[in-house]
Amino acid sequence: MAEIAEKFGLEWHLIVAQMVNFAILFIVLYKFVYKPILSVLDKRREKIEGSLQQAKEIEERNKKLQEEISEKLSASKKETERIIAEAKEIGESARNNILLETNREVSSMLAKAKKDMEHEKEQMMSDIQDHIVKMSLVVVEKLLADKLDEKTKAHLVNDSIKELSLTK
């Protein structure tokens, strides 16, 4: 052991001296390099992590907003479709109503016109009948004026009137 120590020049005070050297270096580096730089690095790391977190939050919020917007959009689309369909329905029913009304009116007008025409026709027919009776009376009177007495005349006239009214 002592031989080895002699060979490598081991001496306890040299070892201590080197330890002291190391300790001096350690203290200086620790005080003036590690401590300030590590604190700077830590602060930076914290800052970066904070910003990352913030960015994440913002992104999440963005996503949520986007979802909301798309949801609202689809809802409004549905609403629009519904309104359009409703309007279409209303329009259709209104059209049908109008058509029906018009049809009814037209048919009622037609019926009225027909009735009027019938009425007029009847009137005309009765007028014509009266006329014919008068005319035939005159003709018969003229033809039979001389040949028949008053009594027969009246009888004949009454008969024919009766017949006419019967045929009527």
């Binding site: 080197q18 330890m19 190391f22 003036f32």
Partner: protein, 245 residues
């Protein structure tokens, strides 16, 4: 060509010997302190390239540590020590590659013959240095472990009387923990010393051009050794800080 495995004494302060590796590690500490002063004068200026570079370095170290421990308080507990290990070992290795290290020196009469004593010597090519930081590393591991799992749980790892097998496992753990100091220190010392020897040999064989790629290799090896030292400490600490199941 004389290559000594021990650091040469270059002077005395009182009764203590000052070796060239002590001088070198002091130079490393001074250089780093100058960097820190430069940094703190530019701290307010966030656009300063130097500040941004250091910040990037710290962030990179933090991400390496967090990749081992996960994002938990442990990462912050161990950060300062682990990164100081990395920076200290790295600068020791790289400053040891500077021209003048190992070549500037003086001749001294020692035991009747004149020998060359270099004024500077790569700090990690002295076992005193590597043992010093290995002891700190292992002690740090134990302290953090006790802090995280509690004294009782920590001691039960080494002194377990539940069964004879567990007792021997505990003894083995104890031995392994002690051996770690040796493995840490000899790994770093061996690598850096071998690198130095390699460079000395190359420079003495062909002084021009040829040693340049070896300088590159040594720079890379210095970085790797710093990384290995700090990451091993980190991993051991991480394992020891999680309660046994």
């Amino acid at each position: 060509m004389e290559i000594s495995t021990k650091a040469e004494p270059i002077g005395h302060i009182g009764e203590f010997v000052v070796t060239n590796t002590i001088l070198m590690s002091m130079i490393t500490v001074t250089t780093l302190i100058i960097f820190v002063i430069l940094l703190s004068t530019k701290k307010c200026d966030l656009k300063s390239k130097f500040y941004n570079f250091v910040e990037m370095l710290i962030e990179g170290l933090m991400s390496v540590i967090e990749s081992v421990t996960g994002r938990c308080p442990l990462a912050k507990q161990v950060f300062a020590v682990i990164s100081t290990f990395f920076i200290f070992v790295l600068f020791n290795n790289w400053l040891g590659l500077l021209p003048g290290v190992g070549s500037i020196g003086f001749n001294e009469v020692h035991e009747g013959e004149e020998i060359f004593v270099p004024l500077f010597r790569s700090a990690n090519s002295d076992l005193n240095m590597t043992i010093a930081i290995a002891v700190i590393s292992v002690t740090f591991t134990q302290v953090v472990a006790i802090k995280n799992v509690g004294v009782k749980s920590y001691l039960s790892k080494f002194f377990n009387f539940k069964s004879p097998i567990m007792f021997f496992v505990g003894i083995l753990e104890l031995v392994a923990e002690t051996i770690k100091i040796l493995s840490f220190s000899f790994r770093l010392f061996g690598n850096v010393f071998a690198g130095d020897v390699l460079l000395i040999v190359m420079f003495s064989l062909v002084p021009f051009i040829v040693p340049i790629p070896f300088m590159g290799i040594e720079m890379f090896a210095g970085f790797i050794q710093a990384l290995i030292f700090s990451v091993l400490t980190l991993v051991f600490t991480n394992i020891a800080s999680h309660a046994e199941h």
